[in-house]
Subunit: 488 residues, 2 copies
Amino acid sequence: MPSTPSSTAPETNARTHVRLTMAWKIAAILALTLIIYFIPAPEGVDPRGMHMAGIFAGTILGLILQPLPTAAVALIGLAAAMITGTMDTKTEALQGFGNSTIWLIVAAFFIADGFLLTGLGRRIALLFVSLLGKSSLGLSYGMALTDLVLSPATPSNTARAGGVVYPIVKSLATVNDSHPSSDESRKRLGAYLSLSGVQVNTITSAMFVTAMAGNPLAVGFAADAGVEISWGTWALAAIVPGLVSLIVMPWFMSKIYRPGLTKTPDAPAHARAELKEIGPMNRGEWTMLATFVLLLILWVLGSSIGVDATAAAFVGVAILLVSKVLTWKDMAANGGAWSTLIFFSVLVGMATHLNTLGVIGWIGDEVAGLVGGMPWIAAFAVLSFVYFYVHYLFASNTAQIVAMYSVFLGAAIATGAPPLFAALALGFIGNLIGGLSHYASGPAGVIYGSGYVTTPEWFRVGFFASVVNILIWSLVGGGWMYVLGMWG
Amino acid sequence: MPSTPSSTAPETNARTHVRLTMAWKIAAILALTLIIYFIPAPEGVDPRGMHMAGIFAGTILGLILQPLPTAAVALIGLAAAMITGTMDTKTEALQGFGNSTIWLIVAAFFIADGFLLTGLGRRIALLFVSLLGKSSLGLSYGMALTDLVLSPATPSNTARAGGVVYPIVKSLATVNDSHPSSDESRKRLGAYLSLSGVQVNTITSAMFVTAMAGNPLAVGFAADAGVEISWGTWALAAIVPGLVSLIVMPWFMSKIYRPGLTKTPDAPAHARAELKEIGPMNRGEWTMLATFVLLLILWVLGSSIGVDATAAAFVGVAILLVSKVLTWKDMAANGGAWSTLIFFSVLVGMATHLNTLGVIGWIGDEVAGLVGGMPWIAAFAVLSFVYFYVHYLFASNTAQIVAMYSVFLGAAIATGAPPLFAALALGFIGNLIGGLSHYASGPAGVIYGSGYVTTPEWFRVGFFASVVNILIWSLVGGGWMYVLGMWG
């Protein structure tokens, strides 16, 4: 059997290749870490500062190269910080795990699970399809509304895109005979709905603090820089540019990435049939809906009635547990929530520590020096532009926010930008970047994986969409924040 | 078909019964919480103190009655503390999650998982059986040695008993035709090995800070009371009474709970055959072994070389992740670790807060007042006795440690007991109580569930074993600590 050796050879080669790549990845991470680790600390930076900067940079590079999953990389970085004494184990290394912002995110992961488990998320999507689904564009708006309704209580934008919206997109495409198998078939409907869904997801993520896991972190970093942003302030500033983008984007996508099928006359009837099949709302769905409405009320009124956003989220989890909509077993099996807890707590602890040691301030001053002398609007435009497109280097919105938000905000404030305006604008950008590439964010990864969209298409359409977003959010958004008096 | 209604009737009754019981449980928890919540705070206690005491007592009662699983009860208690403002969400409620002691426990859960996943734990057990297994007593000693070897790196005594030791006990019993089915059969071998295994487990748990999840908490509470206990100090104080108990207990159990089968001449050959079948140690097992030895060295030398126990544990996790002995997927699926994280962080946060608010000091003074006037040895004997047998009310060692350790230690110190001696003695008792009843601890629950031991047998044998433990640990242990100079 002469074919045996030749048939296994490529496999062996592939495995060697993976190992080599892995070795290269680890070598790159170690090299970056060690180089920065041994740079002498500049004036005003604690001697441990460059050690922390080295481990932090190595961890971020690890998140980009992914030799191991996110949470594993974070834990290894933490162990390095502990054993080298860069972070004191008792007082510094684990501070992120007691951060109330992170627990807001984790609690909201559990709450969002309730939308999936009870089927309420699916019901909402079907409802919008039955109302708006007569055309491809209508279907896309139906998905956008579903995403918008769920977004304030679903900080896992990946869960929202991958768990609720995408399954409906997939079934709509399948029913209309659009499959990833051939160009003609995938472009019929599935490709348009997929890519449009990703862009919509980045917009809804930008609209609420609790709509994307990185947003509360941005709020926390802003507070470290002396800028207080409440849940209500963020939502108010984002509502006008957000709604404008949500109206424009599906239409714009239908022009530059036109689906083969424009009319879908049967979709509403299909959705109604499915709604009929799942029957009336059950007790779990009603409980989920009531909890969701209560949370929205508490989050909106929060600062005026003195209820902390995290406390509200824990009350939501408690209600779902007592009513058995959610069980501890579901929670324990929610790997995404635990990964998020580990990853965020470690990185936020490191970033906070970097700040305390004076490293963030020093880098911020250096960056501000580069754009110094310009009027603040010009300086801020340059900073925003760089902050937006540097995301081609990142595989997660949150990784970029943790690595760069504080530095860019510090530089913007140093050049004279109004602090609240700058903090919110950079906060919004941290979401809108999520559709730039097929690896730009969790939702992008999920939807790319479905196979409806090719890589070149993604880069092209993602770039055009980013231009539209930048125009809307700077002109409409900037104008709206000016009206709100946030420029002063 | 007249049988249908009558066959469903008992089921309906059973469900109604469960609901009623559930309603009674919740009513009892709410009543206890509210009564304490509204008691006016005594002199020296912060006004929020009784609110915290009410929510804490309700949470502990919830852990005893278990209307929901442990972690769910803890989360609901935390939500109550947050929303009532009893614990500030940003500064107080989540402090437990950043506690380095808790992360020592969580990290050790992950490390212990490596013993199971690599099969190293099973190999060790088979090795001891092949050496000592010619009689029932020898098998019991083989299991005791396995448990002892694993205990320093396995703070989940339940995982140690249920995951490594018990499966071997079960297969030994089955091979020797001992099954839970009939009295004669179960008493042949399985019942003796099971109950002996539980008692051995409580002893090994008492020997190392890292051998039972509640021990690091006791160490933390002792530190709050001004008593520093290192990993080495605990191990040194426990080694002599621990080894004496480990030698005595299997023999004592063979006298009061005699197995029908005393000779097992084939067991060593069976173990050797199984060892042969699993082959030589693989790379995963070697990595696990090396990591384990490194951890032991770091834990033993810790305080003298300046390596924190938690930092060492994280390095262990990092090694297992890099070498792919453990994957993040294994870790995310380790429900026991996440439950432990939630449960401990919440309860330790509450207990710490109770201490800060002056409640623990006040109760300790009240208890000390009851035994005041006695010589400290007599007072301590009374306190220890109560601390030991109050465990008939608890379903978890850790729940009792969290609820009562600080109070009893405070009372003991107030009556003049040497602080280090009292802290260690109460620490040891927190483990030895785990075999008192079939619900006394995780290992007890696992092994009771196997069906080899009846409830009356358990109570009778558990009580006799507790008397033997008390005698050994107070006479031999007390004498040894006197020799070590810990009475001063």
